[in-house]
Symmetry: C2
Subunit: 211 residues, 2 copies
Amino acid sequence: MEPTISIQALQRMPTYLSLLKGKRESGTVYVSAGSISAELGLVEIQVRKDLAAVSDGGRPKVGYVVADLILDIEKALGYNNINDAVLVGAGKLGKALLAYDGFREYGLNIVAAFDADPSVCGADGSGKPILPVEKLKKLCQRLKVHIGIITVPASAAQAVCDMLVDSGVVAVWNFAPAHLRANDGILIKSENMAASLAVLSNHLSEKISKI
Amino acid sequence: MEPTISIQALQRMPTYLSLLKGKRESGTVYVSAGSISAELGLVEIQVRKDLAAVSDGGRPKVGYVVADLILDIEKALGYNNINDAVLVGAGKLGKALLAYDGFREYGLNIVAAFDADPSVCGADGSGKPILPVEKLKKLCQRLKVHIGIITVPASAAQAVCDMLVDSGVVAVWNFAPAHLRANDGILIKSENMAASLAVLSNHLSEKISKI
């Protein structure tokens, strides 16, 4: 049984990874938890613990071999096995995510999008198909897809979430500004960009009045 | 002096807003904090407090007029004055955000993108210009742009953040998987999609082994 990694630690891993990849590119061979924590402004003991949870390559005084640590983190994050995902809601945001192939380097491959509106179905500019939502369950089951991305309006998000779970999805990435509920065992990770914009916009209106 | 709204309350506002807009569309005239909290799975006293911070239209037993409450929340979030923003890093994600015009309904308008690579500069498919990063400061100052969006690789993100702040930006929306630092008074809101994917991917690998 592998040691369980905390969600907080998992969320820091991509930050470590990008720092380490920068070091590898510039030819750095060894790196210590101390130098990583200093560069990222994190607490050293936390970095030390995080790295120990994914790699046993750390040596006293020497630290980690950069290239090995990268592989260990990528393995812990499952970046080596690309995960297939479906996306529901082929509106503006859905299409932008569908066309964005940068997720592949994080191990995510969107295989198809679905929409309730037949007029948007067909081949997308991205080359990925947009299918009628009625076909969702069959495709998920046939291709064993376990990640679902929700980009429908907030009012439809819970129904889509239920539909995804019913199709075998166990990890939901929600971009709708809605609070979603699902059974235990289903992970819902919300990316509430509207919430971020609300904070930015409010900060701005407070600041601007003083500028 | 307006009462200050907590960041947590601000982040919940878009969720209220989308629920309320759904109600307005379906012809609902009145809404109570109690029914909102039940529908969203939130604590009623919190919803009551949040709404009281942005609107004084609540009446005992009747609740709020849906249409008025929408206007009050939009005003609090500053959605009525569209904020101009610049985006730095015209790679895949940057271009996707540039082409996505859904941010306008949240009061955000991206006026131009910037990139260090001259070969990507020019007119984008979105109709928005991609300019050399050397022109960033002048444009921000001339157009009084105070929001900056960072979509460069993590290794370049802090330098870009410093450049934005130096150009008069006070609110930074960071999409790079990097921990950014700035002076007091500068708000940095990070949208760490890589961190979300790490959590989803790890959950999946734990689940799949049991399926």
